[in-house]
């Protein structure tokens, strides 16, 4: 009985972890784009910023492959530059196509969020 209960808890925790992974997928990259919308930022800066968000908290090392993909699809530009103190930094900047991708996401996200809120019952009216 106890064994079954603990087994259920473990699988439930796995489901929760899976859920946040699923939610992160497809949204995290736009959080990255938004982060460099107004000013260029270097990798460690972006990674630290994510570390402060508990809901988004992933292993910091997983952000770099994401940055790499965003650069490969042309939404981000990057360039290495010397830092006043310490090692060179790789700065990321939003490209024009990155900017329009972010704008498109904003529109999609609002209607998506409203639909989910309505169906799941998490809207303000609920």
């Amino acid at each position: 009985m106890n064994y079954l209960a603990s087994q259920g808890t473990v699988s439930c925790m796995a489901e929760v972890a899976q859920l946040s992974t699923s939610l992160r997928r497809g949204t995290l990259e736009f959080c990255v784009l938004a982060m460099v919308e107004r000013e260029d930022r270097y990798g460690t800066e972006i990674v630290r910023r994510f570390g402060e968000e508990r809901n988004l908290a992933a292993s910091e090392g997983t952000i770099y492959p994401l940055l790499s993909r965003l650069r490969r699809v042309g939404w981000l530009d990057s360039k290495w530059s010397e830092s006043p103190a310490g090692p060179p930094r790789r700065y990321y900047a939003l490209t024009d196509s990155g900017r329009s991708a972010l704008e498109h996401f904003r529109g999609e996200w609002v209607s998506f969020r409203q639909t989910v809120d309505r169906l799941v019952g998490t809207g303000e009216a609920a």
């Binding site: 990798g43 570390g51 090392g61 770099y64 492959p65 994401l66 790499s68 993909r69 090692p87 930094r89």
Partner: protein
Amino acid sequence: MSINKTDDAVGEYLREVEARLGSLPLLQRRELLADLEAHIATERADRNVQSEGEVLEILERLGSPDVVAAAAYQEADAPGPVRSSTVTTFVNRRANPSWVLILVIAAAISAVVLLLGVGLMFFVRSDDSAPVPAQAPAPVSSQSAPSATR
């Protein structure tokens, strides 16, 4: 002494990550390793990190080499060796008994279907043309006849 130790830990971490990126395109592999190296160096400089414990903490926040490599393969849209081997071991360990069962059932079903098909063909033939079944037994009896005489 402690500087050497921390450099060892960083070097080992980077080697462990690199060892897991074997089937990633070369440029992506180099890029990720350079990014991780720069991240560690920046964190150490910005936070004035001295002790080995603090360096290990930086590495811990980066995530295990497995986790980082898995993310690299995922973002590369290329099935990595980590993933495929996981799938294989899963199939080997868990699914073997059920695969045997499925194979046995499939074999039984195909045997039944085969028998039914043969039976059906026989019926169809015998309905369509009477001479065929009539001819068929003839060689059998002629074959069995000499053996009987021996």
